[in-house]
């Protein structure tokens, strides 16, 4: 910093050329630091994925002998063959996750958008009071245990699919985000529709919803991502294996609490080491694949939602 200050008087010398060259050398330094730092950070963000993928294509014996490494000695597809040798469990978990994600996202979108619409209506007298009623839940909560007792003892949702769908369904943040999306729709649209005799629900469904598609897409994707990645609710509520969602199955396999049903008996008979460590990696790839595939197409909606959500709702 002090060296910068010392160079300042030199820069105010009348020679234009000197200043120009100085600025360029600073820009070059800046670019070198910037490009190399961001490249390194990007690599750090990618390496874990590479490790999982390369681990899933490694031979089990190689791992037992030498451990996981960046580049396996030889490619092996045994882990994937094993995963898909008896794929019912994986397919079942995929089915649960897809079902819960689709049902939860659509239902959540409906409930959130209705609430957002009502709270965005300036003529709705209780909008501030109800907004605070919703917002207060982010400030204070009863904690995990009273919530758990409510879910299981009083609502009887233990081991129910509803225990996976309900908890992430509505969130105060999504409602606030939806409200600010809808506030940007001109009031005159609602007013002119009212003069034409349209009811409140009709205005919402026929006018506001089509005009809110960017907001709906953003919040729908937030919801879908939350459902797809959710393992916590399954962890506390789901007890029967056929209701495991994908991420929870992966968690169980990683912690070796559940063993993937495979045809590993055949390996034992043939006196070959069955894939177990590599299998964990293969299941991680299979469970994460869809998110990575969709990511390039949906990323911009998230960026949009974040930049709007970052500004006060």
């Amino acid at each position: 910093m002090s060296s910068n200050r010392q160079t300042m008087p030199q820069q105010s010398t009348p020679s234009y050329k000197v200043t120009r060259i100085k600025a360029d050398s600073a820009t070059i330094t800046f670019n070198v630091i910037g490009y190399s730092m961001l490249t390194v950070l990007s690599l750090i963000c990618l390496i874990p994925f590479w490790l999982i993928v390369s681990g899933s294509f490694t031979d089990e014996l190689e791992i037992i002998a030498e451990g996981f490494k960046l580049f396996p000695n030889a490619l092996s597809f045994e882990a994937y063959k094993s995963v898909f040798s008896n794929p019912e469990q994986i397919y079942r978990a995929y089915g649960v996750t897809i079902g819960v994600t689709v049902a939860g996202s659509l239902l959540g979108l409906l409930v959130t958008s209705m609430a957002g619409y009502v709270l965005s209506r300036k003529d709705f007298v209780y909008r501030n009071k109800l907004s605070f009623f919703i917002y207060f839940t982010t400030l204070f909560s009863g904690g995990l245990i009273p919530w758990y007792i409510m879910m299981t003892k009083h609502l009887g949702l233990k081991d129910s699919y509803w225990a996976l769908i309900l908890p992430p369904l509505v969130s105060a943040w999504n409602i606030i985000l939806m409200r600010s999306f809808m506030k940007s729709i001109p009031d005159s649209i609602v007013e002119s529709a009212k003069i034409d005799g349209a009811g409140d629900f009709r205005i919402y469904w026929k006018l506001i919803m089509p005009l809110s598609t960017p907001g709906l897409a953003t919040i729908g994707l937030f919801l879908a991502l939350g459902y797809w990645n959710d393992w916590f609710n399954a962890n506390v509520f789901i007890t029967s294996g056929d209701k495991y969602p994908l991420q929870f199955l992966l968690y169980k396999i990683l912690s070796s609490a559940a063993v993937l049903q495979t045809n590993n008996g055949a390996y034992l008979a043939a006196n070959i080491v069955p894939p177990t460590e590599t299998l964990k990696m293969a299941v991680a790839v299979v469970a994460t694949g869809p998110v990575i595939l969709f990511y390039p197409f949906v990323q911009r909606y998230f960026v949009k939602g974040l930049t709007i959500g970052a500004v006060k709702g």
Partner: protein, 300 residues
Amino acid sequence: MIKEIMRNKTLFLMIAPTLLFFVLFSYIPMVGVYYAFTKFDFDGGLFGSEFIGMQNFAFLYKSGILWNLTKNTVLYNIAFIIVGNVMQIVCAVFLAQLSSKFFKKTAQSIMFLPYFLSWVLVGAFVFNLFSDLGVVNTVLKQIGLQPYDFYIETAPWKYIIVFFHIWKGIGYGTVIYLAAIMSISDEYYEAAKIDGANIFQQIRSITLPLLMPTFILLILFSLGGILKGQFDLFYQIIGNNGMLYEATDIIDTYVFRSLTINFDIGMGTAAGLYQSFFGFVLIMTVNYIIRKTREEYALF
């Protein structure tokens, strides 16, 4: 009020599911904090359990559990806030100024990717890197060093936890700071260029000062949540490894274990209530400060 409800029947019906949701899953459980003052009896339920006053809190305090949990939760959060924000600002500043559009887009997409993945996958990374057969031990063996048993040593996990927190959130924060930088008028930079300021001087005297309000605001809000622990992060990385609790147990993991392993409902609820109550006091304080200084950014 009844007149208003009748008049806007449809609107009330439309918001009713949301209100019911919060009554069921937020407001009624708030009544359940009463468990914190009882010796829990499953058959007795909420009001059938024996009332024991502050005994649960007294135990948590005297046993030193509360102090350890608070210390861990707060210190981890401070590390997350400082390291996270600094990294995010640095990334945003460079991303905003570099000239290659393709590079910027690619780097931003890659750094945002971890945000979209489940915490379970982070657990898989940790397994792949640090287990007995993990990559780190493979490398240690290759360069002729002794393998390291991560599962009994507390020291490295602090850094591993902070690393993965930063790793997962860096893209998110960068997007927010980048948006703040993009809203700075180009005129400032043009004027600085004419005056002969180089790019570092521009960043020091234009970008960083103008990022200050966003930075302070984000820091203040983060401080408001400093008692909230990120359960997913700690549980997926540490799990139920009791050897590491002293350095890695936070309020949220303790409450979770009270519920699922120790079945100590009263104690767990007490720890949860302690967290909620002081969390509430903190966020109110933060909001008060913001309202006094920069009213337009106050939460309420």
